[in-house]
Symmetry: C2
DNA sequence: ACACCGTATTTGATCGTTCATATCCGCGCA
DNA sequence: TGCGCGGATATGAACGATCAAATACGGTGT
């Protein structure tokens, strides 16, 4: 059953080879300033030569820190596939890596409550902190972690009053900016096509649209789709109205292929007769014809901020005072024409 | 600097509460059959009540097994964004989870060689095994891990002769099947549009196309694009030829939006005048208009097989005798019309 | 020469588990 | 009654590091 697994180079091996004690080797790594220059030199060389690295488990056991951030992978919604995850995760891996942390993927097991999945990690002291994304207004995971007093950070926002260890995109402002971009290209009749799901970030985008519309003196309707099959029909409905909107603002990139098809069905050319804009800057938006104007999320800056807040929480023992909003950046691509 | 981090419930706490020894509590978890029914019952209840879980670090240190699989995240190619990662990772997290393992994301640090990134994990005994994907024919990571004798498995294939701990999609057969599907819909003039990068999996797809073409008595050319900007032009070039191909076979879904645009520019309607097929079944292919016929990869079965092989390697100490090829499944969607 | 001091290094204890082995206990049998 | 046996439970050691405290060392000042 258990194969013989060889153990590697231990601190004692190095210590013996260098003719010093355990602790000196340990210090060479964790507190080099405590060693005399020549000792440090000698020990460091041996460490490198022998390929020594402190056993992560032993270090964790003694020191109490795991150098691991657990990410609870969100349930993927087949209707609205969250391909964003790859980009966000990548940014998180990089940001955490720079801080000496690694990301551990944790799923909510089948027939397991959110709390149980979290409890598993906490009780087994597998990670130092949690990272959550796609949180709802009233998210039980947030409640649970808060109550347990376990460090965590959120991509998204917690409800006001809850711990402020969150970082989010200022979707409202980003959408206002997007509408402003359309205004600057001469659009006045705009329409909003949204996903009907009641998700916080989608609500913010719709809110931003309304504010922008008012601020830039535009007019236009909103419509919502319940699933992928409705997109074309609902989008056509919007384009059919008179006066015809010259721009279609989507609350998410995933609606774009449907919107393009709707325009075509109406005899309109996207990027010429009608503008289409998205949100998220998914990789494939660049490939669409014409490439889609959309909002790019500053994933790397979000990840950096999340890691900072996490480390801060770990040091202080309490979450930061305030959440952080970062600006999303509208990226102008050919799907938005100028109108006279 | 270091906040006081409280330690949780330990095995001794439970032992004392139950009036038994450490080992009995340990056995209640790891070897329940060794306990008398009533003892087991009593101890188990307390374990649950007190929320006890073995400290992962302590357990790992003593037993030598980490219950962690490290996944070396591939460098993302901005030209051909690998959104597949999210689906594959998700499947891996589930498959590994079922086997009691978790996935740790590891990046190749900046200015760090592949070998160093691997060495870090191996020497610090952070993971029990590695998982690699996107391996090239002559992949240094495979060489390094083989030489180091560290357990690993590969999504993709290693070169013949190398350890056989791999699982891959039978892309050749999948592409043959796809061509067969086109044949069964009456297509005879086909064209192949591929990515010019010399990647093993892309070569297999092209090879499958050629075999299928011959087998089903079809005729047609191949063309390759160097980057996203060329897709439409090259696709139009293929559609321009006489006799005009009735089907455009892509080596990857990412080419689809460009192919659709090319068809439209030629005055052709995809799904009516011309068929387009992809490969990978990326989430957005379902959203395209018309939805794209493509090859679905059995991600969950791939993940299961990878985990199995990994566990087997861990137990036996040597990789399995042979690699494993799994069938990809062509998914018929409206982008493929029947021709008379 | 000796006490003193700060720095460099070593030593002993400990983190929480599992492994390997020892002890305990009840029961059947000579 | 005493012995052996096997299953249930307990004990000692070890995993490999860091923490906390002790000791060795080299130089100064008196």
């Amino acid at each position: 059953m258990s194969a013989h697994r060889p153990r590697g180079v231990s601190i004692m091996d190095v210590a013996r080879a260098a003719g010093v004690s355990r602790q000196t080797v340990s210090n060479a790594i964790n507190a080099p300033h405590k060693l005399r220059a020549d000792t440090l030199e000698r020990v460091s060389t041996l460490i490198k030569e022998m390929g020594y690295r402190a056993d992560q488990s032993a270090r964790s056991l003694r020191s109490g820190t795991r150098q691991v951030i657990a990410y609870l992978t969100p349930e993927t919604d087949p209707a609205n596939p969250n391909a964003l995850m790859s980009g966000f995760l990548e940014a998180m891996v990089a940001a955490a890596g720079d801080a000496g942390y690694r990301i551990l993927l944790v799923r909510q097991g089948p027939g397991q409550s959110e709390a149980q999945a979290l409890e598993d990690i906490i009780a087994a002291r597998t990670a130092d902190a949690f990272l959550l994304s796609d949180v709802l207004d009233d998210d039980r995971r947030v409640d649970y972690l808060t109550e347990a007093g376990f460090p965590f950070a959120v991509f998204g926002r917690t409800r006001p009053g809850a711990p402020q260890a969150w970082v989010d995109v200022d979707s409202v402002q980003a959408m206002i900016d997007m509408v402003g971009l359309l205004a600057s290209h001469g659009h006045r009749q705009v329409a909003f096509l949204g996903t009907s799901a009641e998700l916080p970030w989608l609500r913010h985008r719709a809110a931003g649209f309304r504010i922008g519309k008012r601020r830039f003196g535009m007019v236009g309707l909103e419509a919502y789709v319940d699933g992928p099959d409705e997109v074309v029909a609902v989008a056509r409905g919007l384009l059919d109205r008179l006066p015809r909107p010259s721009a279609l603002v989507l609350d998410d990139d995933w609606l774009a292929p449907g919107a393009y098809a709707a325009a075509q069905a109406e005899g309109l050319t996207v990027g010429v007769d009608v503008a289409v804009t998205g949100f998220n800057d998914m990789p494939y938006t660049r490939l669409l014809q014409p490439p889609l104007t959309t909002v790019r999320l500053p994933l790397r800056r979000i990840a950096d901020a999340l890691v900072n807040r996490l480390l801060q929480t770990l040091e202080d023992g309490v979450p930061p005072e305030a959440g952080l909003l970062l600006a999303g950046e509208p990226v102008l691509r050919p799907s938005v024409p100028s109108v006279r």
